[in-house]
């Protein structure tokens, strides 16, 4: 078999459609008779609901219904928890509409359905809500203190979970180590902000008793299964389509956002299609946040800077509810060790409720936190012991002959954290060479003579990807010879219509454009979990490969009969099956498909009809990608403005399906990382009000801030799946905070600036410079 497509920068199948305005985003769905919804949301961070009066709203023009908690029946119960954990003692989950209490600004209180969005919003303004304010729990540290006001009174505490993992004997190691350094490191709130906000359209057909949902979700299959359960419908009666989704990055999975319940509920009760599209301001309140953690960390090293032990004790801000469980803090504490050998490790966290928007994974999902802490500790060791920062890292790297490497922890998939393969020294050395590490001191000195302040950063990470449980794929050849591939993992821009098609095209010898991919539609494929944790290419890709191989085998068998040739002498090429060396003896794949599904005659005993196969793949555990980012930045100490002069990513994600798509993933990740490290911050005031609710307050980087990115690849295939793939979706974002912190410190070394929190900003950097000036004038 010739692999024409695997590893090639194939142009994307989905592009022409998206470029000509023929996308199928949820707000593009128009159904005759459709009604539109708007939510009344809490204006208080923490309050009792005394009274919700909908009478004026109900009387407003064009209004069909106004729902409050009392209208929900059993759907008014807390929504189902997503991922339980044994230490999660208080698995509090959100409501479709708030019952007697609101716990964050933006929590849905009532849902108005009217003839148009404009009329629905008019009426929403007429819903009268009387609140009895309660003391808001805003500050993370204060929330964890005994005696703090309680977000959930019945829990008796704001600490939802307290979890510790240990490797070796960290206490003894710290007590006996020659050098111990401690740092307090803070990451503040941020969020994903996909360009498309969320949205749901629901259409109930009372005759067929089917519920059709369009949802901008990353996980349509679990949404379908959950909705069927909640609404008491057979699974086959519910179809969820996540067509084109305008960016996901994590928060487009929750199961369930309140809106995902209320829109179908209204559609079923009113017998009319209902649409709700989130506006940007709502998105800031109502779509999950991430990132807020406070780490007290320590590292113990010997005189050569070799790690003896690491400890992190941290608080994780869960927000008002914790439906998603402990994924983010668990990933943070298990990503922290990274590519380094750490014989003794103590990771301990408390997940804490606050009166703020719910937290769930956002691209990186705790990995940026872990890497920020670890790399800051490495920088501290380098500085304190006077060892070059690349060298101190190199001394601690896991070596290529040490795989599989057991870190000694339990990962987010509840499996042991075992790195499958990698070559960390090669990755780091390549990045150092690309960024010009050795000549940088001279470059920096020259710039300083000109009054310019340059800094270099280098940061390593290991990225857990491709976790189970499983995904599936169905490959089907039509009589036309065109190939249909259906799988469950929806796409939010990752190029599944192309990368997955490449795998099929190689197996069946067809043009990649002739492989039609259907994804994110439970009517086509309804087994699987979703697109998250850099797993689609690994898990679904492997299932696609297995299904395509099965179809290939079948095609060869059937064609062998048709051509009266031995299977071993056949090959698939150009949409045909032909006899090797005798290309005139050939049948088209379409003819083979017809022969495999005859109208008369028979098929061989034990065979299944048609050129079709469905296969599933579940990896034994995650595969671990790795990489190094390095950058040279310039900081203006007067204005605090940051300019990234060079940015290098060297990445190892095993076998690469499509390097063009892979590089795009990395570019986007880096941009998001830069945004989270320097520009984007959610600001809550003391009362729990979110002040940053527009793109004028929450500054996403533009083309003026984001650098060009030079990318180098190292390939150590994963042994855990047939293609050797590791995931890549989060690689771009993970080490950016660590990298920017180090580079800014380096640039501002004349002032002795220390970076201990993220995000920075021009204002923050100015304050750091001023603070250092006051302490010790340069």
């Amino acid at each position: 078999m010739v692999t024409r497509y695997l590893g090639a920068p194939v142009r994307r199948n989905e592009d022409p459609r998206l470029l000509t305005g023929r996308g199928n985003f949820v707000d593009d769905i128009q159904i005759p008779g459709m009604l539109h919804g708007a939510f009344v949301r809490s204006t208080h961070a923490h309050a009792r609901l005394k009274r919700v009066d909908v009478s004026r709203a109900l009387a407003a023009p064009g209004v069909h219904a106004v729902y409050t908690h009392g209208d929900l029946g059993p759907l008014g119960d807390p929504l189902p928890p997503l991922i339980p954990h044994p230490t999660l003692k208080h698995h509090k989950t959100q409501y479709a509409l708030a019952p007697d209490k609101v716990r964050y600004v933006g929590e849905p209180v009532a849902f108005v359905v009217a003839d148009s969005r404009y009329l629905a919003e008019d009426a929403a303004d007429l819903v009268e809500v009387e609140y009895e304010p309660l003391p808001p729990v805003v500050d993370l540290e204060a929330a964890a203190e005994p005696g703090a006001p309680l977000v959930h009174e019945d829990a008796g505490t704001n600490v939802a979970a307290h979890y510790t993992q240990r490797v070796g004997e960290p206490d003894r190691a710290f007590a006996e180590a020659p050098h111990v350094f401690t740092e307090r490191l803070v990451m503040d709130r941020g969020c994903a902000q996909p360009m498309e906000p969320r949205g749901v359209v629901a259409h109930w057909d009372p005759r067929l008793e089917t519920l059709l949902i369009w949802d901008s979700t990353q996980a349509p299959i679990p949404i379908r299964n959950g909705l069927a359960r909640l609404f008491g419908l057979p699974e086959r009666a519910v179809r969820v389509i996540a067509g084109d989704v305008g960016g996901g990055f994590g928060p487009k999975i929750m199961m369930f956002y309140p809106e995902e319940i209320m829109v179908p509920l209204a559609a079923m009760r009113l017998g009319r299609p209902v649409k709700w599209i989130e506006d940007r301001r709502e998105h800031f309140w109502a779509t999950n946040h991430e990132r807020e953690q406070i780490h007290d960390a320590a590292i113990a090293v010997d005189d050569q800077g070799r790690i003896i032990a690491v400890r992190t004790v941290f608080l994780h801000d869960a927000g008002a509810y914790i439906p998603y469980g402990l994924i983010v803090p668990v990933v943070a504490s298990t990503t922290l060790p990274g590519p380094y050998k750490i014989p003794n490790y103590h990771a301990e966290f408390k997940a804490v409720f606050t009166n703020k928007t719910i937290v769930s994974p956002y691209r990186g999902a705790g990995r940026p936190h872990g890497v920020f802490v670890m790399e800051r500790l490495m920088d501290r060791v380098a500085r304190e012991l006077g060892i070059d920062r690349a060298e101190v890292r190199r001394r601690n790297l896991i070596q290529p002959d040490e795989f599989p490497y057991d870190v000694g922890l339990i990962y987010q998939d509840f499996a042991p954290l075992i790195y499958d393969s990698g070559n960390y020294p090669a990755v780091m050395d390549r990045a150092l060479a690309m960024v010009g590490y050795d000549r940088f001191p001279e470059e920096q000195a020259r710039a300083r003579r000109e009054g310019r302040y340059l800094g270099l950063g280098v940061a390593n990470y290991v990225e857990g990807t491709g976790i189970g449980p499983y995904e599936g794929a169905k490959v089907h050849v039509e009589p036309s010879g065109k190939v249909l591939l259906a799988t469950g993992v929806g796409t939010q821009g990752q190029g599944h219509y192309t990368s997955l098609a490449q795998l099929v095209a190689d197996q069946l010898g067809v043009d990649v454009k002739d492989v039609h991919v259907v994804t994110g539609d439970t009517g086509e494929f309804a087994w699987g979990t979703g697109t998250f944790a850099s797993r689609a290419a690994v898990v679904a890709g492997s299932a696609v490969y297995l299904a395509a191989r099965a179809v290939r085998e079948k095609a060869l068998e059937v064609a062998a009969r048709l051509l009266e040739a031995s299977k071993e002498d056949l090959e698939l090429e150009g949409g045909r099956v032909l006899v090797r060396g005798a290309p005139q003896r050939a049948v088209s794949l379409g003819e083979v498909a017809v022969a495999a599904n005859p109208l008369r005659g028979t098929i061989p005993e034990g065979a299944e009809p048609g050129l079709e196969a469905t296969r599933y793949f579940g990896p034994p555990r995650g595969s671990f990608a790795a990489g190094t980012h390095a950058a040279v930045v310039e900081v203006d100490p007067e204005t605090g403005m940051l300019k990234i002069l060079r940015y290098v990513v060297v990445h190892d994600c095993g076998t690469v399906i499509n390097p063009m798509i892979l590089e795009g993933q990395i570019h986007g990740g880096v941009a998001q990382g830069v945004g989270g490290a320097y520009y984007e911050k959610l600001v809550y005031d003391e009362g729990g009000q979110l002040l940053t609710t527009s793109f004028m307050d929450f500054l996403i980087p533009t083309a003026m801030e984001v650098p060009d990115v030079a990318i180098g690849h190292v390939e150590t295939p994963s042994p855990l799946n047939p293609l050797g793939i590791k995931g890549a979706g989060e690689a771009g974002v993970i080490p950016v905070p660590a990298l920017v912190a180090q580079a800014v410190e380096d640039a501002l070394a004349p002032w002795g600036v220390r970076v201990r929190e993220m995000p920075l900003s021009p204002v923050k950097v100015r304050e750091l410079v001023e603070g250092s000036r006051r302490e010790a004038p340069a």
Binding site: R11, R12, E14, D15, P16, R17, L18, L19, T20, G21, R22, G23, F25, D27, D28, Q30, P61, Y118, A192, Q193, P194, M195, E196, P197, D244, V245, G246, G247, F249, D279, R280, R281, Q492, G493, Q494, G495, M660, I661, E663, G664, H667, G668, G669, V670, A671, Q672, S694, F695, M696, I700, T702, A703, M704, V706, D708, V709, G732
Partner: protein, 172 residues
């Protein structure tokens, strides 16, 4: 409800006439009244640029204008750039070639901005390109490949233009 008003507007060469409420946003008019859903709404407050259309040839935010204001105007949206998926506009083709889009949500806004920009500045350098697209936010691509695509599009448009002709109007 306030009295409706008549709006006559030419979009991609086709004349449309509708009765609308004064508060109807131009973006909603284009998407829901005319069914041209290629123009996307990302922020509704004029920052993200996903809703960018050409209004008498100039790129503007359709979310920051009322439909009634467009009465008599000539608008262009992404649907007007190419007759079909096989015959893409050079800017669209360059976005395919350089992987200038991922989820595709912000893309129509970028295309309209870039089409207008290259009419005015057919031979931009990278700094000019970055400045020109600084009013459009993209969360997927990090802009790297969009910048490449714009460079490529500029080259192919220049190659198409007859020698000596300049697409740049005088006086700007």
């Amino acid at each position: 409800m306030a009295a409706t008003r008549t709006v006559r507007v030419r979009v991609n060469g086709t004349l449309h006439e509708r009765e609308v409420e004064p508060r109807l946003l131009l973006s909603d008019f284009i998407r829901h009244e005319l069914g041209l859903t290629g123009t996307h709404v990302g922020c509704e407050h004029g920052v993200c640029g996903a809703c960018t259309i050409l209004w008498n040839g100039e790129p503007v935010r359709s979310c920051l204008a009322l439909a009634v204001q467009a009465d008599g105007a000539e608008l262009e949206t992404v649907e007007g750039l190419a007759p079909d998926e096989e015959r893409l506009h050079p800017v669209q083709a360059a976005f395919v070639e350089h992987h200038g889009l991922q989820c595709g949500f912000c893309t129509p806004g970028f295309l309209m901005t870039v089409v207008a920009f290259l009419r005015e500045n057919p031979d931009p350098d990278e700094a000019e390109i970055r400045r020109a697209i600084s009013g459009n936010l993209c969360r997927c691509t990090g802009y790297v490949n969009i910048v490449k695509a714009v460079k490529h599009a500029a080259r192919s448009l220049r190659a198409r233009a007859p020698a000596g002709a300049s697409a740049a109007p005088a006086g700007r």
